[in-house]
Symmetry: C2
Subunit: 157 residues, 2 copies
Amino acid sequence: MSDLKVVAEPGRQDILITRTFDAPRELVWRALTEPALQARWFGLDETSTEVEPTEVRTGTPWRVVEKTGNGETFAFRGVHHDVQRPERIVRTFEFEGMPGHVSLETLTLEEADGRTEYRVVALFQSVQDRDGMVASGMESGMAQSFDKLEKLLPSLG
Amino acid sequence: MSDLKVVAEPGRQDILITRTFDAPRELVWRALTEPALQARWFGLDETSTEVEPTEVRTGTPWRVVEKTGNGETFAFRGVHHDVQRPERIVRTFEFEGMPGHVSLETLTLEEADGRTEYRVVALFQSVQDRDGMVASGMESGMAQSFDKLEKLLPSLG
């Protein structure tokens, strides 16, 4: 069972996303940061994902491309502001289809009793940008991605 | 005369900073992005500034260190998310003395009649972070910096 929560309080510029994974933090970290693993869970069920080769560390850029069966592509990019393995990543995020709308994401991973809490605060340049992201179907896309991630984790143990 | 404005509306997570410089945009861009020039205006009047060698382009890190006469140092760092010469920079910003409090800055430069409007929107992870930055004396520090920048610009023409 997924305990995904997406909280967007009225009038604020941020979204809080939490989800627990039944795996140690080290495995969740690997699945989030190794490009070959990230490509296996990130994105909608019906798309394929390419993660550009990236060393996830402070000061590096990142880019991910989703491709649909129709040949459409959706690309996302940003830079890693701060990376503290295996517990914290601060990075920027931009959907290339809406250039100029940049968000700042802070990810933290906390482990307790062999389970890991994934927590992201995503901060937007305006309430409108934030509300637009919520309205885009982000939550169902994330639910699909995280369910794939949950299934991938046991194979990494 | 400086027309510096620093606007922090109650309850929001951002600060809007505007200031006009009596110089073409290309010169303002150079003063903002060339490390040797930035070191001449950034910071308080009584400090010296070192700007680490940086190529200001999408995906690169940056770091600036201010030193007081007492030997204290104050360092700031981040990454360039997007750089569009000579009009726009999106970057992250963190004061190393308060690690983990990261802001996202969007700079735009617009030229009209040979003068350039500098505009920054700085976005904070919380209203408290934003209010803390305002209370830190940011505005008087920026006023000093920008006055030095204004004086520097004619020598670049």
